[in-house]
Symmetry: C2
Subunit: 448 residues, 2 copies
């Protein structure tokens, strides 16, 4: 049973609920929507990401013989449920915001319309994928805003990501947001994402001489010549890099970059730039890593650090300042009737919804959430992506998604581009039609 694809990677309550639905012959169409209740501190907007993973999950969702065997021998489940799951296929309709779309609190990212068993059973994994990929794309987009086109960004976070899938999907989500690539090798064969790599401190330490280590590395990797120069002393490392570059130049191998991973990166990058330039190596770029995030990138560039690229790792791949989203996948309609919850402090909007976004001079000026079918001014954000369990179009390429995300970021109002902006700076309204539906549904619940 592969956790990445197994339908048993779910909460037990999905199966106990399905058992009651199957036993009670509840088969009507349910509508669920996934949305974020409130943006975390430190996020003025979010970037939708994870749709492609979800669609693939919906398409491939099957219970294998081994999985059915486990369900049988567990003794928890009725023959009727097991028979239902043996034949399970997802046959629902899905509406969604394209990956890369800027969005805000309460706006549905995905709407699933399917017989209630199907729409319910996909919940856990849908949230698991959508939350994580959206977290990382959103954090990465902030790094892109901070770099503002003045430096390239590369994902370095696999080792501190939470497990294998998180590491791999973080490479994808950050690439979509505008990173030029990742250090994670597997992201190239799986997603076609450009990969980058240098050397570790251990490589230098395993050699008796730093300069020998530089030369040996470049001889073995003549097309990938980034030298890590801070193992013992950064300025000294820069001078040894220059010496190595002179030796290598004679063999026709250019040193492309030096990397700094510790210390006062502003002062050191300036000193290293001086050393390189004074020896005629203006073409060698300076690459920086170590504890980076959007604020580090912004501050170093603002202070004039001569840095050409950043490796962004731990804080990106864990979205460390906001490691989760207050998100939910809520039933909004069943058997043609709007539904909602009234738990203290957790009221949500009933019914099938759409979001319209208005623009002025190429910048977004405000969103309105309304009921699906209502036609408002502006651009609708959700579009049909799957009908009867089949995709309406092939998956977009990552390059297409990254282009779309760049375009989305370019339409952000100036206020939201500030790293300390609050999401309240952007107006999101509820339409009169949706308010009316909410009031009617509430009244119905109170009377029942």
């Amino acid at each position: 049973m592969n956790p990445l694809t197994s339908p048993l990677l779910t909460d037990l309550y999905q199966l106990t609920m399905l058992q009651a639905y199957v036993e009670g012959d509840m088969k009507d169409k349910a509508v669920f929507e996934f949305f974020v209740r409130a943006l975390p501190e430190g996020r003025a907007f979010l970037i939708a990401c994870g749709l492609e993973s979800c669609l693939k999950f919906f398409e491939d969702m099957r219970f294998s013989d081994a999985e059915i065997g486990y369900l049988k021998q567990s003794g928890r489940f009725s023959p009727a449920l097991i028979s239902y799951l043996s034949d399970f296929r997802f046959t629902g309709d899905v509406y969604a915001m394209p990956e890369g779309t800027v969005f805000f609190a309460d706006e549905p990212l995905i709407r699933v319309e399917a017989p209630i068993c199907e729409a319910q059973l996909v919940e856990t994994r849908l949230i698991n994928l959508m939350q994580f990929e959206t977290l990382i794309a959103s954090k990465a987009a902030r790094c892109i805003l901070a770099a503002d086109g003045r430096a390239s960004l590369i994902d370095f976070g696999l080792r501190r990501a939470h497990g294998a899938e998180a590491g791999l999907l973080a490479a994808r989500a950050s690439y979509i947001a505008g990173f030029i690539g990742t250090a994670t090798v597997l992201a190239e064969p799986v997603f076609g994402i450009p990969i980058f790599g240098t050397m570790a401190h251990s490589f230098i330490e395993a050699h008796n001489d730093e300069q020998d280590a530089f030369v040996d590395f470049c001889l073995a990797n003549p097309n990938n010549t980034t030298l890590l120069i801070d193992t013992y002393d950064t300025a000294g490392g820069a001078r040894k890099a220059v010496a190595a570059a002179k030796i290598l130049a004679k063999k026709g191998i250019p040193v492309q970059r030096v990397r700094l991973d510790s210390g006062d990166l502003l002062a050191l990058s300036k000193e290293v730039r001086r050393i390189l330039d004074s020896e005629g190596f203006q073409a060698i770029q300076i690459f920086v890593s170590g504890n980076m995030d959007e604020f580090g990138i912004r501050d170093l560039l603002a202070q004039g650090a001569p840095i050409d690229g950043f490796g962004v790792g731990t804080k990106l791949d864990t979205s460390s300042d906001a490691p989760y989203l207050e998100c939910a996948y809520k039933l909004t309609e069943y058997a043609g009737q709007a539904r909602m919850k009234k738990s203290s402090g957790k009221v949500s909007f009933p019914g099938r919804k759409q979001v319209f976004r208005k623009y002025r001079k190429g910048r977004m000026t405000g969103d309105t959430i309304t009921i699906a079918g209502d036609l408002l001014a502006g651009m609708p954000l959700l579009e049909p992506v799957m009908v009867g369990g089949k995709r309406l179009a092939p998956a977009r390429t990552l390059t297409e998604i990254a282009d779309y995300t760049r375009e989305q970021l370019s339409t952000l109002p100036e206020e939201l581009r500030d790293l300390t902006a609050k999401s309240s700076a952007y107006p999101v309204k509820i339409s009169p039609a949706l308010e009316r539906l909410k009031n009617e549904t509430e009244a119905m619940l109170t009377n029942s």
Copy 2:
């Protein structure tokens, strides 16, 4: 290529370094150690976890034909490296703290001794697994201390975990720390962890009547009868649960628990307890979920909330207040010679190390980190677990590990059991022998 097992789930620099090692014929034994540099704010101790995942990774590490094919066509790698990787097997020796061991900053959790290519190539995935599982076991242990035996804890975090593997491994790590189980179904067939599940709000909302929903659920799941009572109004929900329980009692089906997921949980749990007791349902337990962490558990129990169990989700599975560890896997010896890095602010200790722990009256009183082979008073924490790539003993069962962890937690000094304690409250010393080795290695680096 399955990210969970693919050796390509690694940083590109591992492969570029290996290329240089293979081309330069560097084959000597390297010693690497994994440790945490400094404990995060809010952690007075950590619980070692992840060893079993690492050992399995070491044993199974192979490059498949597809992976070798990718490496060939990428054009980045030499025939010599590709030939080396085609035959790759991990043949190293591994020393480690058993899973469940309490540990502190600078103490090695795992030591890998192997030809440098092997010891280097396992780095990325080793950190990826060890960091995450240790994060979760440590957070879960804090929840266990907070519950102090007065309430049962269940992992509810899959949906907000960072991807599939994080969700599954969080179930394991929290079980090791003392949780009674998880909501994640797959944890049962994969790890044999007990699973628990109730119902979602959507189940109640899909029914036209809350009481009917309760009865239908229990009829379909007669051995798993937990009722979620906060969908519309918690006290009203409790009364409907009582009415349902009376109907179900006549059919011989007992209602086991009610669950609260929102609102003022202290006041509501007391009110619900009164309603249940006044109707003769003293045996129905109260289970609580929603935004829980160690502080929520501690405070509710301290205030006398009549809560029998907690579902702990998002904040556990993301370790939200400390979503990463400042950890490293460092070369400490190569070709028989101690090695270390001197990067600004990141000095580490060279050589192969062992940790000795002293006890008084069953409580730990202080650790000393020394060089391997040095014999100090106290209990050594690292033990050999793999020789020549083969395990020395079969994997311990999760029950054995959980028992060992419970014992470890029982030896914590009283000061460290406080949720606001600082790790500085516990003394960790460096032995004279290790200080000497560090000074010698530094002197050697300065002279070279």
